[in-house]
């Protein structure tokens, strides 16, 4: 899961330190609209598309993308939630994590599933999502859409659709906030004080 994402079910309560807004609500809206068009373009229409948001913030992002696709194409495509908790490769290094909700629309088989997440960093959450998806069915193709790609990849994974590339240093944090989950919509970069470097927010997955 991207580094901006708290473990599912936990509120982002840590002191973010000094922060810099890199995308505001308008920017995000424009980025999503562009991504929606790219998705349609790549797929040559809405045919067979399924959006699968990775909880927590990937799910509302997927909903927004679906709305943008509907505005462009006049078709409402199915949106699901794909929880990856039990597929993570770092389960053993944390206390038992609460498991999120998985609800995938019927017919993953032969669909084109677009995984949607807020931040792409190490690529490990995408790896987990691919495994989770594989247990649900056999899509014709899987694509990846992320709002922010901040680099620092640890696995050979690349996003198909990116809202914004944000070069960052490893000790910075990228926080995505969405109205649906956080009460406001923006992307900020914070550089926490050194002693707070071990905050759970720093998980690199």
């Amino acid at each position: 899961m991207a580094d901006s994402t708290s473990p599912p079910g936990t509120a982002d309560t840590s002191d973010p330190g000094p922060q810099r807004v890199v995308l505001d609500a308008e920017d995000i809206s424009r980025a999503l609209t562009r991504m929606a068009h790219q998705i349609l373009e790549t797929n040559r229409g809405a045919q067979g598309l399924v959006l699968a948001g990775i909880p927590r913030r990937g799910v509302p992002l997927a909903e927004r993308l679906a709305t943008a696709i509907e505005a462009a194409e006049g078709v409402r495509i199915p949106v699901g939630a794909l929880d990856i908790t039990m597929y993570r490769d770092d389960l053993r290094s944390h206390p038992t994590r609460p498991v999120g909700h998985t609800r995938m629309p019927a017919g993953v088989d032969d669909a084109v599933v677009v995984l949607v997440d807020d931040v792409l960093m190490s690529g490990r959450s995408v790896r987990a999502a691919l495994d989770a998806l594989g247990d649900l069915g056999r899509p014709r193709a899987v694509r990846l859409a992320v709002l922010v790609d901040r680099g620092h990849r640890q696995l050979p994974i690349r996003a198909d659709h990116v809202g914004k590339n944000l070069p960052t240093s490893a000790d910075e944090r990228v926080l995505v906030r969405l109205e649906e989950t956080d009460g406001s919509t923006e992307v900020v970069i914070t550089k926490p004080a050194p002693e707070s470097g071990s905050s759970p927010q720093e998980a690199s997955l």
Partner: protein, 309 residues
């Protein structure tokens, strides 16, 4: 959560977390690939000192669907008669490198004793006439769905538990759990099958099933064990059925929608009539289905995270 020994160990939030996760797990039951990788590399041993095909199978499937390696060890018969102490038996199993021990024992308290001897997580799969907490959890899961979905739906629900309360680990675990969820258990049994000190359990107690039946939201019928029939606890099976069985006639006394539960295996015609067991509002098979999901949830809660030092 380190161990699951008693319903008394669970706070309402724990119960909600277990049941919520069990709902997720229940979905896995309907997938074509019934597998989650969460417990890959974990070893779960079902150490059963007493036969119970259904509970053992339920734990076995639960562990396997979570990708744990599950081994069944039947240690039937008292360890005393075999000359090996319980501690030695358990240490031997634990020495193989076990992450969780699921223990069924004919003697009350055995799982609790085991926690003092080994580091592995311990799940009580039924100990003597003490407790059977996963049964209570699966009953709560089943009833929660029946009542409308959330844990709050238990508030002030009256739930009759009928039969051999004295010897029932299911009854003890259910009373503790239901009370934590805000429900009002009503214990119904002839005085010979009511545990000593039941007055201090802080729940309604009755020897008159008919007086209770019309005012409850669910009835849990307990199995009458064969040995009780010859133990002088009641005169004859016939008299028991007439006094405490959920007969066809008694079905008409239930409020519409009253849930009917039984932990199984059922003695049809004794504590429960075929009409009741197969009634539209009978949840007996739902209970069995819920068993796997609830046990998956419990195993994940115990084994899904880092090892505690």
């Amino acid at each position: 959560m380190r161990h699951l020994l008693s319903s008394a160990d669970l706070e309402p939030d724990d119960v909600t977390a277990i049941l919520d996760l069990a709902e997720e797990m229940a979905d896995v039951q309907h997938r074509s690939i019934k597998k989650l990788p969460a417990l890959r590399g974990r070893t779960v041993v079902n150490l059963f000192f007493e036969d119970s095909t259904r509970t053992r199978s339920s734990f076995e499937i639960a562990g396997k669907w979570l990708s744990a390696d599950v081994i069944n060890i039947s240690a039937k018969g008292s360890s005393v008669s075999k000359g090996e102490s319980l501690r030695d038996t358990v240490l031997t199993v634990a020495a193989m490198g076990v992450d969780a021990l699921v223990i069924r024992h004919m003697t009350s308290g055995a799982p609790q004793q085991v926690t003092g001897w080994i580091d592995a997580h311990v799940v009580n799969a039924g100990d003597g006439t003490h407790e059977h907490p996963t049964q209570a959890l699966l009953d709560a899961f089943t009833l929660r769905r029946h009542f409308g979905g959330d844990t709050g739906s238990f508030a002030n629900r009256r739930i009759a538990i009928v039969g051999d309360i004295t010897h029932s680990r299911v009854a003890r675990s259910n009373v503790l759990l239901l009370k934590k969820l805000g429900a009002l258990p009503v214990l119904v049994a002839p005085p010979t099958l009511m545990p000593s000190g039941v007055d201090s359990w802080d729940c309604e107690v009755s020897a008159d099933l008919d007086a209770v039946l019309g005012g409850v939201d669910a009835v849990m019928m307990l199995r009458v064990q064969r040995e009780r029939m010859s133990g002088g606890y009641f005169p004859t099976p016939r008299e028991y059925t007439i006094g405490y069985g959920l007969t066809r006639d008694r079905l008409t006394a239930l409020k519409p929608g009253t849930a009917i539960c039984h932990p199984g295996p059922m003695n049809r015609g004794l504590e429960i009539s075929a009409d009741a067991a197969d009634a539209a509002n009978s949840l007996v098979l739902d209970q069995v289905t819920a068993g796997v999901a609830v046990r998956m949830s419990v195993l994940y809660q115990l084994l899904g995270g880092e090892d505690e030092s």
